[in-house]
Symmetry: C2
């Protein structure tokens, strides 16, 4: 279900988000926005080093941070790993973690209804649900 974007479209997205569209950034976006599924920085680095002439680890990290800061990606930290996971879904949503495959699925907001009876002093800004289990094939 990933979107397909031309380099020009990616360039526009970056500019609109206030990120200067360098070669490295465009390439990384091609991967994280159009191909990857909740990648870690390491996975982005591996892909980039195979698909670009030359790119440093620092640039990968710089770029991921720039994309998160610009609001084009979200950084996730989940219980099963200490690596940051990047999510190109920037809408509010929930996650299902398949503990057998290690794969993470996005669950749209609307599919989950959370009703809470918290004491009034708890003022909630965000609610995030993590389901853990397995996905049958």
């Amino acid at each position: 279900m990933k979107i397909s974007l031309t380099p020009q479209e990616i360039e526009k997205r970056l500019m609109d988000a206030g990120v200067q569209p360098t070669l490295q950034r465009i390439a990384i976006c091609r991967y994280v926005l159009c191909e990857a599924d909740h990648p870690t920085a390491e996975q982005v680095k591996d892909w980039a080093q195979q698909n670009l002439d030359k790119i440093s680890q620092a640039t990968v990290y710089n770029t991921m941070n720039a994309l998160v800061d610009a609001g084009l990606l979200r950084a996730l930290r989940l219980p099963h790993t200490e690596k940051v996971i990047y999510d190109d879904n920037i809408e509010d949503h929930h996650h299902f973690f398949d503990e057998e495959t290690g794969r993470l699925y996005d669950l749209p907001e609307e599919q989950i209804d959370v009703r809470s009876k918290l004491p009034k002093k708890f003022k909630t800004n965000r609610v995030e649900v993590l389901f853990t289990g397995k996905v049958e094939d």
Copy 2:
């Protein structure tokens, strides 16, 4: 709302869980079970180094892992920090993170009702909700 335990009660808990009750472990349990509020290993180490003659970092980590493995503690990984957070509440429950104070509150299972319409192939084992916001005083 923390429980108060005598060294003997702590010793018994450790034995029942199959953990040899050494001086260091009993001391750390005194802190994590009776005093601390979602501490990190670092906080446990700081407390231990102030309150015990001498304790090494390695022992703190060894002990925390032993307690988690024995089922006396749970290890949590939350979005706002890369440090592992230890929770002495080993029941299924949810969390509220106060983004102003950095404090984490346990929310009992019963206070939260999660209704989901997931496709049938998603077989859920666990559901964890993280609320983020602020707690008024």
